[in-house]
Chain length 421, copies 2
Amino acid sequence: MSRSIDSFEISRRRFGALAGAAGLSMGLGSRLVSPAFAEAVADSAEIIQGKVPGLLVHNAKLGVMETPLTLLRKYAHTPKEILFCRFHFPHEGNAAWYATTAAPDRKDWTIRVDGLVQRPRDVTLADLEKMGQEKRVSVIQCAGNGRSYYAARQKVAGGQWKNGGMGNVKWEGVPLRPFLDELKMVPSSEATWLTAEGWDQPATPEGTDFAKSYHLDDPALDHAIIALKMNGEPIPACHGGPVRLIIPGYYGNMNVKLLSGLLFAAAQSPSAYQSLGYRMPIMPVEPGKFGANDYTLSNSVPTYGHTIKSVIFSPLPDDNPKAGAVEITGVAFNDGVAPITSVEVSADGGKSWQNAEIETPESPWAWHHWSAKASLAKGAAVLMSRATDALGRTQPIDGLARWNPRGYEWNGVERLELTVA
Amino acid sequence: MSRSIDSFEISRRRFGALAGAAGLSMGLGSRLVSPAFAEAVADSAEIIQGKVPGLLVHNAKLGVMETPLTLLRKYAHTPKEILFCRFHFPHEGNAAWYATTAAPDRKDWTIRVDGLVQRPRDVTLADLEKMGQEKRVSVIQCAGNGRSYYAARQKVAGGQWKNGGMGNVKWEGVPLRPFLDELKMVPSSEATWLTAEGWDQPATPEGTDFAKSYHLDDPALDHAIIALKMNGEPIPACHGGPVRLIIPGYYGNMNVKLLSGLLFAAAQSPSAYQSLGYRMPIMPVEPGKFGANDYTLSNSVPTYGHTIKSVIFSPLPDDNPKAGAVEITGVAFNDGVAPITSVEVSADGGKSWQNAEIETPESPWAWHHWSAKASLAKGAAVLMSRATDALGRTQPIDGLARWNPRGYEWNGVERLELTVA
């Protein structure tokens, strides 16, 4: 009795087709970095409305850009005008509305909470706004931040991020676990995963939607919020507004933008962004022996929490430092699971180290500002910093030991070359 | 960092709260049959707008009613005005619109296709209307049809259905499997169940939403359609319009009304309508030893396909049959998996049997009309009919052997007592 359906057009998510969008998807591997894009790089302010000019653009078509540290260090909370951006799908057609720092006007935004539950629910933005809100100051960081440094071993495809694919942001929203509890959906005992789905869609039929799955018993979810505000304002479209899942301490991709669905499931999402992308090999791998498509659910894990990291904010080469006494400052952060106990600083390329002073952070997941006094001699200087936490987790001296074919989770000891005048 | 959310109101599905609806739910067991309802039984035409008067009302509050056989036998395809009805939730408040045989005006109806897939999709009614449509003539029958006959062993709670909780209906819609294939959602290999979700919701927080799960490799899904029409017209609201999943040959509850979601999952829905209700014990059970809440996923199975059944349509007691030659007619049907090979008829209470003639049915799932010539003597007569299919499946002489505490799947040999004038 069955026969084929005539070919038909399916409504794209809620708001119609991404008409005319170019063919880009996670599944297409090396096509992610197309030479055609590199030819016509526009300024950051032209690519995303509301961004300042001069951000470092990695991919104009996808709106991928990072913040120069000279800008980043100016603000306690990174403003929307300078915060790094990472789109997964081209922002054309009906998706173009989110290539802006303005808050999207989406009164009809709905999150479908569904899956292995007795009572699936639709929750609107208006519903969320009525619920109790909590704040989370936390670092948001692209899992690819620092990818360019892996090139010292072998260059990795993708945006060649330096250190500016991160920011310290104040989020505000509805705490996830009480939210799910209050919905009284009665999940099945077989529901062991929670999948967050993003509204945005790939431009091609071969592409896979963006989704991330979390173990339902993951303690990180205890702190997660369904965020409606960023730095006190509605979340800009380009940063995942109107609704973004924020899991403090987790890499950016785990903080699903344009949140449209939360699913209770007995297995994790087959989205390529869960099963193939944004994963780290469990064992160390060699360039040429383990490729970008060799990831499996068993030989790799998602990029969950931030590996411990420190970054030097001052002096930077643009500061044209002069010989003599200098204060070396920067930030450190980890996944928030254990306190950061020390930041060691070297002003002589690692020959000698001293402990920096660490300011009390705003939260376990926020930037930890640190500073150390040193003296610089005229000529070439190499500054270094290394953070360690109470679990003994620290930054590897040789970050290249963690080389991986998708270039994630760079956290090698920070090393900054300066010319001292 | 976590604290409780202030109490809040959640949007009911898509169209707001079921304000004021009475507390009824699957989970409340015996409260389903409340004496309060029995006191004020209105006529069928008052309970559901567009129904003819005189249908046999089992539950006015829930809009449960069946068709007298004297009406049912008049039509090749059972018209909406007389077709049996079975609501699960009180049709009050914002849900009251579906207590009508009118087609719901729901231009914004959307089916969410989601779960363990790479690309979840929203499909609108307009999308569905553009797709290729197929027809299915099939019996739709409440799993509780004939429940009253179990009372001869021990009465079972619930609507005391006679034989009229069924109809022969022409459905039309989009074939399910090609539909799912065309969406190119790329389900996970772990997705072994498909769950259909209904839009309607229980009135109380304790209630469970309506959902049914099917094995994804169930051959019955090969014939399933996402139905948009019933007997050539938009599906009436009270029969599950605007969109109802029709799985020909499956009991009514498996044909999810007001279809709002299709989920790929690694486990079946924890909805009480899947895990507790509409199930048959695997082994024969005894009254008093196995109760209505003793069902588990392992000791019982859902009421899938119609057990083979025949019903006598003529002569009925209301026909006041007279002694002499008579044509005994009726219908038979099963799950459509194997052809019905015989209908045996007895006019003497089972002492002697003859084979009826069976008309070629419109489809494997449609009513099979049959007829047999007999002679009746004045006085009491007992007519019987018994259908058998090519798999050797037949109606038990003693239907009470299949007694079960929720009173489903009655298919004892049909037995009709008459007084012949």
